[in-house]
């Protein structure tokens, strides 16, 4: 045992020997380098803290001011006939849910189908596929107001300039969400091992069946988290909604007809068009902001947890 220890210790001793006999200037240079290293590390840490400050401050402000109106009335009544205190955001919450749901209905099937085309059907290096990929990239950069204007002009061409509806808002938001869904789905589909497709084909399955029953289930957790990330991206959009769904004080359950409130627009109008009791409007705006942030936080968390939860189940 001791013999072994000696044997093991020898190389270490040899390594240490030159350092002991190092002259002073080298030692100083080493300690200077050490200090420099620590300073730079501290600068990076500072940057990390710097980005956390605004976030924490924002969360603190929204929570502390928003709690004032987190009450039963806020979640059960609209702003119909309310001019001062009281009232709620139920109509805006319902509006946001309906518009987001419709957006999902449009962008999830089309987005996944497009991603399946790009990864499963397009020949590698196909011109058409790279053209589609380029367009998807361009779509990612469309300013949301432009998406709103597009939806607005499309619907006013057909139904007249005064037409406002939740479905038009869903169309505008779908333009923003589609590239997110396509890109994230494409990425997770590429991660599905090619072996699995071949295993499916070798069992005598048609290509579309293999995609439907093997590839997509294997990619499902990733697809879901991509979709949830997309929802988190569009649920706070305000500009296109101002254009195409407008603002409303009363409940409108019908997304096909009429102005429809939504949380971001609700926040904007409460703050922008205050009545005599300004405090009541401010409180409602902050509470709606808190609700919106909570929804986004839950979605972001769900997007993180979806892969793990789905895998754990199986």
């Amino acid at each position: 045992m001791t013999q072994l220890d000696n044997q093991l210790a020898i190389p270490e001793l040899q390594l240490d020997v030159p350092v002991v006999h190092e002259d002073q200037s080298v030692l100083k240079a080493q300690s200077r380098a050490l200090i420099k290293d620590k300073v730079i590390a501290a600068l990076f840490a500072l940057a990390a803290v710097a980005i956390a400050i605004p976030l924490i401050s924002l969360l603190w402000t929204v929570v502390s001011r928003g709690l004032a109106r987190i009450d039963a009335e806020f979640f059960t009544s609209s702003m119909k006939g309310v001019v001062g205190a009281g009232g709620g955001a139920l109509h805006a919450i319902v509006g946001t849910l309906e518009i987001t749901g419709l957006t999902l209905l449009v962008s999830v099937p089309i987005g996944i189908a497009a991603a399946v085309f790009l990864t499963e059907y397009a020949a590698p290096g196909s011109r058409f596929a790279s053209c589609v990929r380029f367009l998807v990239d361009v779509m990612t950069g469309i300013p949301s107001i432009v998406a709103g204007l597009f939806a607005y002009s499309l619907f006013s061409l057909v139904l007249g300039p005064a037409y406002r509806s939740g479905i038009a808002a869903a169309l505008a938001l779908s333009l923003l969400m589609l590239p997110v869904v396509i890109r994230s789905t494409e990425e997770v589909l590429l991660l599905v091992p090619h072996d699995l497709r071949e295993a499916g084909w070798a069992l005598g399955a048609e290509k579309h069946t293999v995609i439907w029953k093997v590839v997509l289930p294997a990619a499902l957790p990733g697809v879901i988290s991509g979709v949830l990330n997309g929802v988190a991206r569009i649920i706070g959009e305000t500009a296109p909604l101002l254009l195409v769904s407008g603002f409303a004080d009363a409940m409108n359950y019908n997304p096909l007809e009429g102005r429809m409130a939504s949380l971001p627009v609700y926040i904007y109008t409460q703050w922008q068009m205050k009545g005599l009791d300004a405090q009541a409007y401010d409180d409602r705006a902050w509470s709606a902001a808190l609700v919106l942030i909570a929804v986004v936080a839950v979605l972001a968390l769900a997007a993180r947890l979806a892969p793990r939860l789905l895998k754990g189940k199986k």
Partner: protein, 279 residues
């Protein structure tokens, strides 16, 4: 009787000729081993036998492969139908990760959108797992994911999945190359049982494995000198149609009953390969 008859088969990746002029007959209810150094085209040839070669971009063949006298590449033959008769097991065990052991075994049925009663499915799963010598190890946890099994068990699960669709032929592409010796032995014993019911073709890097399990062995080699000689010969004969590749294509050098090929190889390249002089 010959189960598979390969005639004048050339296999290409795009313009590249990977396998050239293979002629061989594979008898039924036996094990045929394909051996040879890397890049000799043995896996490519295997994949032409169930038209999986076409799944690779640019993959195409000329020539003929007949199963029970019927050309698999004839016009109007659906590659999907061919794969139902000629099953395949891959180098890396690839059970479907989103499915349980049970679902993996009946995946072939489900993926064909065929309806199967619960009772029939239960029977099929038990029969297939028994054929793959896996039933005793997994019968009490059929609903757990297939990916949770050991490597050797996963590979036997893949074999169960392949036999569950009741093919005539089972192709195995280096099925033991990622397995430990004990799991390898289990698969080899399984192959000897499978040949009672199926025609088995196995690609292997392991010459001892070929010697242990196979009835006949085919040695493939992509020999540059021989290829140059051959193309010169064709040119003098006036046939310019023989395609040129950047690398020499793999060719069937020798095909004989396993004992004969190992103990008394007729070709020098075969003898050199078997004695470990190259490859």
């Amino acid at each position: 009787m010959n189960e598979l008859e390969i005639k004048d088969l050339n296999a290409y990746y795009g313009d590249f000729l990977a396998v050239s002029q293979v002629n061989m007959d594979i008898p039924d209810k036996s094990i045929t081993a394909f051996i040879g150094p890397s890049g000799c085209g043995k896996s490519t040839l295997l994949r032409t036998l169930n038209r999986m070669h076409e799944a690779v971009p640019g993959g195409r063949i000329t020539g003929e492969v007949a199963l029970e006298g019927q050309d698999l590449y004839g016009s109007g033959v659906d590659p999907v139908g061919v794969r139902r008769k000629v099953g395949m097991v891959f180098q890396k065990a690839n059970p479907f990760p989103s499915m349980s052991i049970y679902e993996n075994v009946i995946a072939g049925v489900r993926l064909r959108n065929k309806r199967i009663s619960r009772k029939d499915a239960d029977e099929l799963v038990e029969r297939s797992l028994r054929q793959a010598n896996l039933w005793d190890e997994v019968h009490d946890r059929l609903q757990t994911p297939g990916g949770a099994l050991s490597g050797g068990q996963q590979q036997r699960l893949c074999i169960a999945r392949a036999v569950a669709v009741e093919p005539k032929v089972i192709l195995l592409d280096e099925p033991c190359s990622a397995l430990d010796p004990v799991s390898t032995l289990a698969i080899e014993q399984l192959l000897l049982e499978l040949k009672e019911r199926y025609t088995v073709v196995i690609v292997t890097h392991n010459m001892q494995q070929a010697a242990r399990v196979s009835d006949q062995t085919a040695f493939f080699h992509a020999d540059a000198e021989a290829w140059a000689e051959l193309t010169r010969l064709e040119a003098t004969l006036g046939d310019k149609s023989l395609p040129q590749g950047t690398r020499p294509p793999g060719r069937l050098v020798e095909y004989a009953p396993t004992d004969e090929l190992f103990n008394n190889p007729r070709n020098k390249a075969t003898a050199d390969y078997l004695s470990g002089r190259f490859g």
